[in-house]
Amino acid sequence: MLSLLPQLLVSGIAIGMLYALIGLSMTILYRATTVVNFGHGDLVMAGAYMVLIFTIHVSLPFIPALLLSLAALFGFGYLLHRAFIWPIIAGPHLSLAMMAIAIGYAVRGLVRLEYGSEMAKMPRPFEEQFFFAYNTVMTLDEITFCVVVVVMLIASYFVFSKTRFGRIVQAMFQTQRGAALVGINVRLYNNLIWGVGCALGALGGVMLGLILVLDPDAGVWTLLRGFAAMTLGGFGSLYGAVIGGLIIGVLEKVLGTYVSTAFIDITCYLVIIVVLLVRPRGLFGQHATLRI
């Protein structure tokens, strides 16, 4: 059984890349606005469905469909923040959480109206291929995941630490009020960040669409994986979310294979609970609990 370990690591890391991307997109939202988007999972799925609509119903090739889908989700994220989150940003946190949940739920309902009674599969941009090495196998999909996520991570690192936009966002993470005082258009930047976060999530959804038959309910599942990655990595930490996602991906495989397949589905819940009880700041995050 131990000989399976390299394979588990490889496929665990590959699927972990997906969790990492979703965690990363949620972290970006959180960093800018300190709001956690509880409806993120449904928007991730919406990204995959948009590609389906653009390729099947509008008959576009895959790449333009992908770009249009990301643009659509960027616009949706922008509007979502502008029209629904910003007006209540000063209100109780519960309202913010519920707003996101309600919008996600409505999106899910909309998807289900059209695709509820059938199983749709997103068209593939390339044929599935297998690569064998040292007794392990990897698919082209999995390699794609790794490349996309690494590129996205480098890009976010660059944007957040090297550009003016990134520094402004960093400033807003420290204090929105202070940022407003020095003349930053906080609302605009928050809108943009929500757009970017949703587009990045949608990219995760499209990657999910490569390996899965689309399901309007997959959003909840996605959301919890993203949360777990974020929690383990530490809220607000970009590379923390990525490392967290990878660890959870591997942990699911290892627990599922060596302990019981019953544990696959609760790995992320256990991670969330253990981390928040034992080390609430996660691996790389900042203070997370209230001390009185």
Partner: protein, 316 residues
């Protein structure tokens, strides 16, 4: 204020005559509303009154329901004797859910953690088939009250009504007391409350336990009403239903919980002929309420007549 409030007693009194005018289908929906009144009232204690983002309500509900069902099926205890134990099981779950809060986990962290707790409970129902029937679900024998079997919806209604009135009145008293004021103080400013020598930890525990108890009793009623428990019934869709009740009804408002339960449970039944739109409508309604009626239906009713105002809420 005092004399007009006694008018509230007309509500259950009028309800007593209700079964004469309606058929068992409508009676069933009303019974379901009574279950969700307790769900809303209990949930609102932690979320609305204590002001904590705790998403563990479905776990309390499920634990109450399964506790009642397991006591009846495994130990042969009549249903009415399982009501209190089901509430206590819920209260115990409430205490467990308050541990992270006691350790200083707040806001989104608490939300995510309690969400994970709820999902973990659902997994537990699946993985303990010797108690819960596992994935196949657990069929509960008809509820029994002092040897009297609750077969019809009307019989269930009268029993449920008594339970709900007792609990709602008790919760109202608690919220109006020093305890309720301490909850509100913590909600408004936890540090200030602690500075005023309010033992916040103790009140956290109390609020979660009370919430768990009330929702757990609701769970026992659910078991008696529906008669078949399956783990899938206690998923995140159920959580959204609970949220809708308190959001639409009004956060922190006892009156709101009641009207929220009525509205959220009954409306989908009225719109049965347009299936498919439910999720979309639900989402849109909650969005609209948050944007335009942030204190829910309760604030609207309070404007209509002061009798609907919760006395423990300030006039802001």
């Amino acid at each position: 204020m005092k004399p007009t409030r006694s008018l509230f007693w007309l509500l259950p009194l009028a309800a007593l005559a209700l079964p004469l005018f309606i058929n068992p289908y409508h009676q069933y929906v009303i019974n379901l509303i009574l279950v969700y009144v307790l769900v809303g009232v209990g949930f609102n204690i932690v979320v609305g009154n204590l002001g904590q983002l705790a998403f563990s309500n479905v776990a309390f509900f499920g634990i109450g329901a399964y506790a009642s069902a397991i006591f009846t099926t495994q130990l042969g205890i009549p249903w009415w004797l399982t009501i209190i134990p089901a509430g206590l099981a819920g209260a115990l779950a409430g205490c467990a859910a308050s541990i992270p809060a006691l350790r200083g986990v707040r806001l989104f962290y608490l939300a995510i953690m309690t969400l994970a707790f709820g999902e973990l409970m659902r997994w537990t129902y699946i993985r303990t088939p010797f108690l819960t029937g596992g994935s196949m679900g657990l069929t509960v024998p008809p509820a029994e009250l002092f040897g009297w079997v609750l077969e019809t919806e009307t019989q269930k209604f009268y029993v449920f009504l008594v339970i709900v009135v007792v609990i709602v009145v008790a919760v109202g008293r608690i919220l109006e007391s020093r305890i309720g004021r301490a909850f509100l103080a913590i909600k408004n400013d936890e540090r200030a409350a602690a500075a005023m020598a309010i033992p916040t930890g103790r009140y956290f525990l109390l609020a979660f336990a009370l919430s768990g108890f009330v929702v757990g009793v609701g769970g026992a009623m659910y078991a008696a009403l529906v008669g078949h428990l399956s783990p899938e019934a206690f998923d995140l869709v159920q959580l959204i239903l609970h949220f809708a009740i308190i959001m639409v009804g009004g956060l922190g408002s006892l009156v709101g919980s009641i009207f929220g339960a009525i509205l959220i449970t009954a409306t989908p039944e009225l719109f049965r002929d347009w299936p498919g739109f439910e999720e979309l409508m639900f989402g849109i309604v909650i969005v609209l309420v948050i944007l335009f009626l942030p204190r829910g239906l309760a604030s609207l009713l309070a404007r209509l007549h002061p009798v609907f105002k919760d006395r423990y809420l300030r006039d802001d």
